[in-house]
Amino acid sequence: MAFLSLDEFTSSPDARFFKGTWIVEYHDRTHLPKGTYLDLGKVEIEGCTPDGNSFFRFHPPSRGCLKQCIHDAWKDENSNEKTETNAVKVILDQLGESMVRLGILQPHFEISDCKFITERPFAVVVLDTNALRNGAVRHLQEQFPTTQLWIIIPTVTLMEIGEKAATIKSRANDNPRPSNSALIRSRPQVTIASQAVKWIRERFPTETLELVPELLRAFRGYETRRDDAYKEPDRISINDRLILEGIKDLRRQRNLPEGVYLMSGDKDMSWLARLEGIQTIYPDLPDIQGASDGINSTRYSAESQTDVVCSIHRFLWDLTHVFSKIRVRKCSDNLQKCEKLELFYYYPTKLVNDWVDDKLEVTGSLGSSSTAETF
């Protein structure tokens, strides 16, 4: 067992992938019985270059197969059709989001007043948490390379990261329950969104959008009320409203009637904002089930005439953020004897520095092969 950063994991001799098909599975103690792993798909390594870069195709599980696996895993638990269907959707959505984040799949941008962003040299882009987590800023810059992006991160977005972290922590020690599979959706909101903030600050002019004090007083107070006679508004809708009003305030203060975009991965928020006269960018994520031949670890960006490449190590790294514990093993009948690697992101002894350095607990070895070096 070792605690490794991504660079250490990539160069580890125990984590050298060689040509062949590998099964990727996950275990998450919040919603799966002990020792149960669910299939996340297959990775077909086509070969490695002499400098150790692997090229692969990822074959996601089919909806039906995944649903059956979930049903089998929870057969003795309090599970039902609706919970299982929701879990399948969450898992497939998160796989797709991961590949968008890593650049090998592209979102389709629905942009209001697209002419503005293509013809003007700059755009102010306000991000919500969903846009932070799915890496949409990177794709926006790729598709509009001549537009200078000025990024604004509302404080309410940062507060949402903290709120989600608290939610995940509070349910970490619950008994596993099928309905907890929804937590998979929350995890990237914490670990990946916070890393994305750092990434954006290092590459784009970035500022924080303060909350409008009057609205903060009016809305945030609801959350602490515990009066049963009063129906507490949904916290997410409060956060959305604070962002929308913050954008309107920003436009007034800086005299920017156009060119300030809300980029949100939430479709409802996007159309509501558009109806209120706010320019929006909605990144529509692709459905990974549409890729019948699998998804390549490389992509050619026609807009920028640049190749996009994702390493197998980075791909697995991202999956651990979302799915907690990832097991990769060679296609083999004998689970005990086959080469396998287990990656665990949320290990209990993780220190503050380990979180900052984004470390993983890595167990096992992939062994070695004469075909490891080349195709």
Partner: protein
Amino acid sequence: MIIEVFESANDEATIEIEIDNVDVSRVLPFRENVGERIAKEKLKTLLTEVGPIEAVNPDEPENYYAQNVPVWQDGDIGTEKTTLMDIPHHIRLRVVLEGVLQKYGTSDNLQIRIS
């Protein structure tokens, strides 16, 4: 290498994609189809057979890999930061052609020409 994409039967290409550093003569089976128009169905078939012409010879990597290709790696896309990487010719060609199919595949008259 230039890939011309035709969406109609006339001679005018919808788009020309120019890719540096891809040696199509090293890619099976496309090296047999250089200069000719390839229709959508045939393109799909050829893509299932794509591969290098021979196993890599460690002394001649340039025959196998497009070398020192600037790439955006591991999600670091859309920025000025690129990494230099060796990518097998057949993988680059396949990725571009799959991208063409994805983007223009709805056209019944789709044809491509590699030169």
